[in-house]
Homo-oligomer: 507 residues x 2
């Protein structure tokens, strides 16, 4: 394979290889299932080091353009099933100015956006969704919140409608500091920065600390919108595997020694998507490692309060010396995602830098919703709502576990999460989630394919199920449909003929 | 001067020089008013091209660390007056991990943040502020908006509290498309992306299109938070001067030919801070230039609706072929800044990329406020509010013009803006805004120093006054105080003794 390489240009060598292959794949010059040259051979033929080629292949794999079969090499990936053309693909590229056409090949493409389109294209009107990342909207306290908003607007008038304090509404920061302190994370209000949801808190940290080419260490699998965020900044992701005790920290050390990451991103409690909690021992190891290699830790505690059993574990923030950990959380999962109120806790010079990033990002977070949220929490409604929610979601988790027991064929595996929203289902061996997805859509059930949560490799054997969104009877029906789709998938794997069954109706 | 340079490292040469000098200045090794070597001499002694050294000096000037005196060279700037120590300076740096200490020297520092602290430190409790960038909060329709919120929450219930459509609430996008189309910018709802204020729209475009080292062409002076945004991304700014007809487009062509900018950022209508409008001829020239050099235009129309006289001019977006201009606007200035609802209009592949950036930035904009805003506009309240606001602000502009006539000494200059919020005041020759600021604070009036709006050079002779924030009698008193401060400043320039006068009381 002849790849034109410019050795003294501004573009890194691995990126030149990646771009060339990407264009070949996207133009169709390299067909699906084509085997790429072995990294050793390509490196030799280009006169480059093997690691350069390996990096280029890893980027392509992260983009979903190639996949690796252990022992047989790297292959061009098949296109996503049934993906309808996007707006930009429907219009003739020649209509757009050159700088827009260049975006098509030279900028990052959101996996999330592609999947949204795909799901929309396959779903039936009566489909049961286990897909989303939030709780049940029926549980949102809309009426209570309406009354709180009224009271706040009457009390504060037009003051609610200005920019307010750029760090966030001071009484809300004080309330958050109080809650965190009572949970074992001693926090001063001056260390709290209110953000537009926890996603913005992650984005501020990424924008401040990362530059193209930097390396970020993450759990593998991890939160898909964090993967998208990091990839939008042209950083390289290193995934550390997760087991029942959370991130396998002993593997993290090798990774840190050889790759010198600029940031560690972790979800230690009710990890997304696996639902696991990092053990106390590993929490301490990770902090010690980060200190030794001088790497900041970004701790995402997006639903730490949604615990259904077991004791609360200390946050990394509580275990680490001052200034090591940037802690991020939100009210989206526990209360209402649409409010877009999250926060981060940081101390030291990084706080003021993050505030400056917040200002250039959107000046300030909506003052009215901050005030309403503060009022809602202060009168004790939040705590009552949280208790109610935990009780309901615990019941739904148990309903899903029971339904899985009933409807999943042998070979599927899962564990009971102690909190959160998600259950991580392993498909029977030899089944792939990209085969299952269209069959499940036919049966009338959707879920998040596990592959979108992997930062580097493209694991096909997992499914993330959100158990919080429906009452137990709907969960039962949804899991029944899923079980049927898995069985049909197994049957077609074994060469049997698949007979479409009559469609089920939601009970 | 011996500067250690690593010629084949990853850090650009100009950046190495900049960092070295910055550390010397911040550590005190280079004292204020020290003359730096001439660019030609330093380049020769380092064996580099002169443009490399010029770029390093330009960055230092943009940081406010050095200033240029025409004909005499480049000098280390004096420290900002009376700047109280920030949180990070008060705490011992050795307490923080190394990566945090590195932030102090190696990351961008917000001019805005420094100035906020300075203003807070000098202002009197009875000070009259002409500083802000928003309208009068007394004009915000808090009560009407409260009723609208109620109605929307009763109507939509918990639907208001989810993420909603990631592009924005569809009826609001339709309403915006309708308004823009009626104003001569034909817009389809699918081209509208709702953002958290127009600042976020600017940020999304910057994050998508710019990478460190890229060049952005802007008006000089321009909106200070856009300068901060671009500088946070390590891009180089090129300022094109502004006159009464807006950006001097004939100078822009030279700039584009030699510097190949990646983006043109412009505020063609009621420019911030000068209040000028770009002429129709220049609008067309700029579009033709952008097309010739294949550069996207980011058009910031943050208060195009606040016009007090003259005919509306067509937006660049309306004049340019499809896909050339990304148009940004907001409801913050006309209605309520705290809502944080703005929008951008774009078509072609860039729309989907910007949506992906929006998702990684904060997932979605608050659904409840979008719905309330849509309801507020649809029942015609917005248009009525806008008419009322224009009438009041026109009167305030006239009051400030009359007060300036009465209280400004000879040599000061200003023009009457035809709309917007700002008046751009030129100080009498030889006066500098950094001298004026503490005296004005003593007299009890604050304003935005013109220097913060300059992307490269550090012009000292301008002041931005917001005329919309107070009723006419307070404007009169504020301008009287300002006139007194200017006269004291002139007197001290001429060597006279400054006698503090008794403090005035707000009428």
């Amino acid at each position: 394979m002849r790849i034109p390489i410019e050795c003294d240009g501004p573009v890194p060598l691995y990126r030149q290889i990646q771009t060339f292959l990407q264009e070949q794949i996207q133009s169709g010059a390299l067909l699906p299932e084509t085997r790429l040259p072995a990294t050793r051979d390509l490196a030799a033929s280009l006169g480059l080091s093997r690691i350069t080629v390996t990096n280029a292949y890893a980027e392509l794999e992260a983009e979903g353009l190639v996949y690796t079969r252990r022992g047989s090499g790297t292959f061009v990936a098949p296109p996503l099933p049934d993906l309808p053309p996007s707006e930009e693909e429907r219009s003739a590229p020649a209509d757009w100015p050159l700088w827009q056409q260049q975006l098509l090949t030279h900028s990052w493409r959101s996996v999330q956006g592609d999947l949204d389109r795909m799901t929309a294209s396959v779903s039936r009107p009566d489909a049961i969704s286990f897909w989303g990342g939030i709780g049940d909207s029926e549980m949102f306290p809309a009426d209570e919140f309406r009354k709180t908003l009224q009271a706040v607007l009457r009390r504060d008038g037009s003051e609610c409608l200005g920019y307010g304090d750029r760090c966030g509404y001071p009484p809300l920061r004080a309330t958050i500091a109080h809650i965190l302190t009572s949970q074992g994370v001693p926090t001063h209000p001056d260390q709290v920065l209110i953000t537009s949801g926890s996603q913005q808190a992650l984005a501020l940290v990424a924008w401040l600390l990362l530059r193209p080419g930097d390396v970020v260490m993450v759990e593998s699998p991890t939160y898909s919108c964090a993967i998208d965020l990091f990839r939008s900044l042209d950083v390289r992701l290193l995934g550390v595997p997760v087991d029942e005790q959370g991130m396998r920290v002993e593997q993290a050390e090798d990774c840190m020694r050889s790759n010198r990451p600029r940031l560690i991103y972790t979800i230690p409690t009710f990890q997304n998507p696996t639902g696991t909690c990092m053990s106390g021992r590993r929490r301490r190891q990770l902090i010690a490692l980060a200190d030794r290699y001088n790497v900041p830790i970004l701790e995402d505690d997006f639903l730490g309060d949604l615990r259904y059993e077991g004791c609360a574990q200390p946050a990394l923030k509580a275990l680490a010396p001052a200034g090591r950990v940037i802690y991020v959380s939100t009210f989206s999962k526990m209360l209402m995602p649409g409010l877009r109120v999250g926060f981060l806790v940081a101390e030291g010079p990084v706080y003021e830098r993050l505030l400056a990033c917040k200002r250039v990002s959107d000046l300030a977070t909506c003052s009215l919703t901050q005030r309403a949220l503060e009022a809602y929490i202060t009168v004790g409604r939040y705590q009552a709502h949280l208790r109610r929610t935990c009780q309901v979601y615990r019941g739904r988790r148990d309903a899903m576990l029971a339904a899985l027991d009933r409807h999943m064929p042998a070979g599927a595996g899962w564990q009971s999460p102690r909190g959160g929203l998600f259950l991580w289902l392993q498909l029977p061996a030899a089944l792939s989630v990209s085969q299952l997805l269209p069959l499940a859509a036919e049966e009338g059930v959707t879920f998040a394919p596990g592959s979108i949560f992997y930062p580097c490799e493209c694991a096909q054997e997992y499914v993330r199920l959100n158990f919080s969104m429906h009452p137990p009877d709907v969960i039962e029906e949804g899991v029944r449909r899923l079980g049927r789709a898995v069985e049909r998938c197994l049957a077609s794997e074994e060469g049997e003929v698949t007979v479409p069954r009559p469609r089920a109706v939601v009970v």
